[in-house]
Amino acid sequence: MGKPLPLISNNIRKLRFHHNEMTQQELADNVGVTRQTIVAIEAAKYSPSLELAFRIAHVFNVPLEEVFIYLPDHDPILKQA
């Protein structure tokens, strides 16, 4: 059994680039987490809480769905239905 595909993708790296090449550390400081957590979110190894997701979207001044993208094709629950 392989590793499950991530259910949520994100554009954080692209958004950081478009915001004066904001570093992971700067974003982490702005939203109150460690740089390792931003690294994990970008690599889709961690799905943040709703509060943190909204905080990230707020920092980039974009709606939540522009930061995070739900991937229904990867969702095993939907596949069962």
């Binding site: 987490v33 460690t34 740089r35 390792q36 957590t37 889709a44 190894k45 961690y46 943190l52």
Partner: protein
């Protein structure tokens, strides 16, 4: 490898070293008596009571030494905060460790039920505690590496 993964490995090594060193020290004091002597119970009572503060102090020292060596080697300071991901990983790792401890406890009680001497119960309980500690640290390493 992230600082949290290195920290988990340092903790695993620390647990193994402390357990072996403490057991090697205490085994010399094991009372030469029959299996059910009061001295045996006293020995195991002291073993567990002393082990708790010894392991806490040793783990604090290991954490401080690790932090200093890690900063010298990598120039990366330890994160000042523990965020939601750290807390979630800590919670899951503790849960895994607790499961192992419960299994160890049940096995220890099983040892008494099948008529093994009390020393067997204490040894199984001790091993359960050590394994649960190791599993907790290993879980932390796993979740930081694979994601949570």
């Amino acid at each position: 490898m992230s600082i949290h993964e290195r920290k988990a490995i340092a903790s695993i090594i620390g647990t193994i070293v402390i357990s072996i060193a403490y057991a090697a020290y205490m085994i010399q004091r094991y009372p030469v008596a029959d299996w059910y002597s009061a001295d045996v119970f006293r020995f195991w009572g002291a073993y567990f009571l002393i082990l708790i503060p010894v392991s806490i102090v040793a783990k604090i020292i290991i954490a401080i030494v690790f932090s200093i060596l890690n900063t010298i080697a990598t120039g990366e300071a330890e994160p000042a905060i523990s965020d939601e991901r750290d807390q979630l990983i800590d919670l899951k790792a503790t849960r895994n460790g607790m499961w192992l401890f419960v299994i160890g406890f049940l096995l220890a009680m099983g040892a008494v039920v099948i008529g093994l001497p009390p020393a067997a119960m204490f040894i199984v309980l001790l091993c359960g505690g050590i394994v649960s500690d190791l599993i907790s640290d290993f879980s932390q390493f796993y979740f930081y590496r694979r994601g949570v």
